[in-house]
Amino acid sequence: MSPRPGFVLEVDRSTPPVLFWHGEGFRLERLPVGSRVIYPPEPVAPLRDPAAAIREALEHPLGDSPPLSALLHPGMRLTIAFDDVSLPLPPMRAPDVRQLVIEAVLDQAAAAGVDDVVLIAALALHRRMTDDELRHALGSRIFDAFAPNGLLLQHDAEDPANLVHLGTTEAGEDVEINRRAAESDLLVYVNINLVAMDGGHKSVATGLASYRSLRHHHNVRTMQHSRSFMDLHRSELHHSNWRMGRLIKQAGVRVFQIETTLNTDTFPAQFGFLQRREWEWRFVDRAGFSATKAALDRTPPALARQIFQAIRAPHALASVQAGEVEAVHERTLANVHAQQLVPVSGQTDVVTMGLPYICPYNVNSIMNPILVACLGLGYFFNLYRNRPVVREGGVAILSHPTPWAFHPVHHPSYIDFFEQVLAETTDPLEIESKFEESYARDEWYIHLYRTSYAYHGVHPFYMWYWCAHALEHLGQVIVVGGDRRAVRRLGFKPASTLADALEMAEDVVGRDPSITHLHLPPLFLADVT
């Protein structure tokens, strides 16, 4: 039976309470009659034979690209770059799709007699991956063959010796990327497209770029003009990356792009209730939910975090396409849209969302308050095409414990950003002009980024810029069940219950507002007309 599409439920009196994520836990909330709930589509069927599909994609590429085997020859320099630990979410069960694709590429490289092969994790300004994370993403076969020989690298955006400036776009944007990737005879990029934002020219132009290059599109103006950054054609973020990507191609860098989409089968069977509509919960779902909730209510937050971070998603490969970047990405986007688009009629006064325990930047880490804001206002708010789900001047209600907690190794600059910058102002433009440069150039943060497992000093700024469109668009942001001090520091309003939050929202949007709840994850993309 084909998977059911996503749909918009209109809440009536017999609608059961709706599941809200709440960090490392859940809440069941009864929404007012007349509210809407957007449910994601069911996961599409996975490819029956992923290995065969990958081989087929490599041999029959899209666009003007020859097959991969025709691009491989003895004596060449081959670089394989791949998406880092921020994808997919949650991390998928072994074998990771990157392992499947890179093994297929390496098989062909070995058959063609290519000796000079280097693998690079495309980190941009993210933290370096640990050996365990690399081994999980690539599999032991690849890790053991490349890592001990120094052939498994992690992109270093602060290593001048290993960066090359390829030129400036017509918009005056510097394009500076990883030297090894730029100077290879062939750069194979292996991507995972979990949402419509990923992939395309953004893979190389962002993943392998330096701060000097990234600052041209990771800024407040770009984010405020990306409506949304999930919509390629209306995203200034993507326009900038596309200009850079084309310049990279003109500079002679040959990119063979391999993009994959995964289905939205996000949680293992014991958390089946997270993917099932509440009125269809079977006995095992109800029992599972009650037992999980009861256990989590009695579990210390640190332990609950460990339990959730250990979840491995049963994601399965849904499609794979390879070849010329733009042709590949067009097909990838069509596949993402086919499984994630949900038509939504009209905007709403109030949007509610339960935020889960994970976002792209806290894998095996802590979801600090800045990441809570980024997940809610950056990612979930932007999961739309055409128009935001919530109207201009409307209210966003987020549900998350928002603890005043930071991972000292992964997020050192976040701590200072929270204590120093947000204590002074929450205005993205003021933050950008007044503080960004000093954090981006800070020697200590650069040292931690390069040698430890820290996000770059400028990264918390980018997280805040990610929220810039939402902050400009919304009349108020309310966080239910969050740490009050942390929530206020973010410039949001704390509320104890959803009912209180809805009452508070009425002060902004008026009596009897229309309410829409985003029932995710699993992910969807609202096509708002």
Binding site: T15, E280, F283
Partner: protein, 306 residues
Amino acid sequence: MRVPARVEAVVRRPPWPGTVPRPPVRRDLGVDYDTAWSRRPPARFVRALLLDNVTRPLTYLATRPKVLGSEHLAALRAPVIFAANHTSHLDTAIVLSALPARFRHRAVVAAAADYFFDRAWKARLWPLLLGTIPMERTKVNRRSADLAAELLGEGWSLVIFPEGGRSPDGWGQEFRGGAAYLAKRCGVPVVPIHLKGVRPLLPKGRGTLRPGTVEVRFGSPLSPLAPTPGGREEDARRFAARIEAAVAALADEAESDWWSARRRAARGTTPAFRGPQAAAWRRAWALAESARRDRPRQPRGSAKPW
């Protein structure tokens, strides 16, 4: 005893939003479920055994029914259609328990196909225990009607709740035409039944039984072939209205006395069976008022001294 909310949340299936269409019922369930096995001798024997030795004693224990008007059944011969008002899941057990054995042991109960036959275990349990047959309640279904007519033709009596479902607020609902149609099609008399006091014991939406006392009142059999004042043949819709009026008169009788109710019925002033056409709170208020009148009064002089 009240089931803890946490346990109820696990045991009880969540309600289905009215704005979401229900998935089609499996072809071998719902109205398509074949209950023929439950009318064969082994199942009938088990049912009779359970009805007489388990269901009936338990029902009597929990509801202490006061059965009135059973003299109307004395001269009747099967098949008969028993049409009762419906406020609780207990109604079926009470009606079956109150019927004389000759009807009770050869009766089928029309049960909502989408509720009592939507799961395999339900489709096996209820026909065995109560002799239920699946009945489509949202629309006229030829299969349901043909089955019921066939069984009436074979001499089975039919217990049916013409309101199509339990009352959401305690007041009666409009009688649908199924019972009247079957009576006219098969030429079978309809016995109106009024059940009083069942709802407080187990109302719609509550999962626990509170023991109490109920009244079962049988009315005079209504013939579907009785001539109308104009001499024209009565159609099923009018006959359904007549059945509803008969149950309403029984309800009035339950609230007052037989003679007063008869006179009001003759004058056409029987109190509305469906309650006042007013806001929900006023309907609830009127129902509570009626219940208050029913409570035994403290004899004068026995007031507590404090």
